[in-house]
């Protein structure tokens, strides 16, 4: 952009147009078994009374995680949508987000007052990350039992996610994981971006993560104002 141009005059010719209103879309990604669904359930329980919210799940098979959320009755059925990912959970959240956008838009049309949507990815590996065409912010969930080297190994989820959650801290003594090392390595690769070490078993409300989500909702409301 030439220096004499005003930012307000700049029009992105490729833009879909700014998404006014609508819910904050939060991606929850991470390796298999790290606790994405448990975190989604915890956040729904903690934030369900505060916000009009819904969840999109991406499974290997159709409805495993969606069924978990239903069984645990964290949300009514009409607030949970499951998408099929054609053996490629990674593609569905990053390279071709069509099915997930369809699901989010369906939830938005069904619940016009929706304030918050969690998009939970299928379990993938450390290279998985969400497209910002699909989500506004993303959380990457790893766990202590996967080994304390994971933050050092990095990958876009660990280094670039808006929030890194290291779950299952209660298991650290049992698997010989050093939480100090995980904290230090995370901070080293993430710059100013936050990392939370939590145990969903000890804190089923996911208190700190829920607070981070509230901050994101407030930040988006300020942007929209």
């Amino acid at each position: 952009m030439p220096p004499d141009h005003n930012l307000d005059d700049y029009v992105d010719p490729y833009s879909p147009g700014h998404r006014h209103g609508g819910p904050l879309r939060v991606g929850l990604g991470g390796p298999v078994g790290s606790g994405k669904t448990a975190l989604a359930a915890a956040l729904c329980r903690t934030l369900g009374a505060e916000y009009d919210l819904a969840v999109v799940t991406n499974d290997i098979y159709t409805t495993e995680d969606a069924d978990f959320l239903r069984r645990n009755a964290v949300l009514p059925d009409d607030r949970i949508e499951a998408v099929q990912t054609g053996c490629c959970p990674h593609t569905a959240i990053r390279d071709d987000i069509t099915a997930n956008l369809d699901a989010v838009e369906l939830l938005e049309s069904r619940h016009p007052g929706l304030e918050l949507v969690f998009v939970e990815s299928g379990g993938d590996n450390l290279t998985a990350s969400f497209s910002y065409g699909l989500v506004d912010v993303q959380v990457f969930v790893i766990d202590v039992a996967g080994g304390d080297k994971v933050p050092r190994k990095g990958g876009p989820g660990v280094t670039a996610s808006d929030l890194l959650v290291v779950n299952k801290t209660d298991l650290a003594p049992m698997v010989g994981a050093d939480l100090g090392v995980m904290r230090r390595d995370s901070d080293a690769v993430r710059g100013d971006k936050p990392t939370l070490l939590i145990s969903l078993r000890e804190d089923p409300a996911a208190t700190e993560v829920a607070e981070w989500v509230r901050q994101q909702v407030r930040a988006r409301a300020l942007q929209e104002a």
Partner: protein, 221 residues
Amino acid sequence: MTAALLALADSRLPAGGHAHSGGIEQAITTGVIGDPVSLAGFLRRRLTTAGAVAAGLAAAACRAVDVADPAAVRPADLLAALDAEADARTPSPAQRAASRQQGRGLVRVASRAWPDPAWASLPAQPHHPLALGVAAATAGLTPRDAAHAAAYLAVSGPATAAQRLLAMDPITVAAVTARLSPEIDRVADDAAAGDLPADTDPLLDLLAEVHAARNDRFFAS
């Protein structure tokens, strides 16, 4: 305008196709497909039935938004009629839903790629071949190009699904698809030139319906 046609038929175009197998997943489950030869046979069968119908509809949709006098013949009316023709040629409700789901995805990406008033003429959640035809028109392509994209996509996506599900050699699968090229061209040319094809395959209909009822599927169709 060949580059626009290549973009339209590129499997990396994020239009949602990667989650659809076009009946391949169920064909594998039931044992219809298990190796490259049976895959090629299935794809050929798909190409000459569902592929031909899609190619004909895509060409017709491309023509519909390019009428000489839009005031006299409204593209929206032509496209609505074609959408009904697509329904009539797709007996399986699961296939109709899959087609509309992919149509919606294609409209999302192609209308951003090639903004044009013509997009407003499409019905909401149109059948995929209709979206493809309008995309071709807005990209400056011909009805014949639209037919070629439709015929090619009728086999390229399903072939990839088979490769993933059976862990087949991707180079073999690429060869299967590539060797179908003359037949794809023939189907597309015929579909673009003549009346709307109405070829059906009861096997595809049946596979789609059985697949839709499963709760352990990887693919949306």
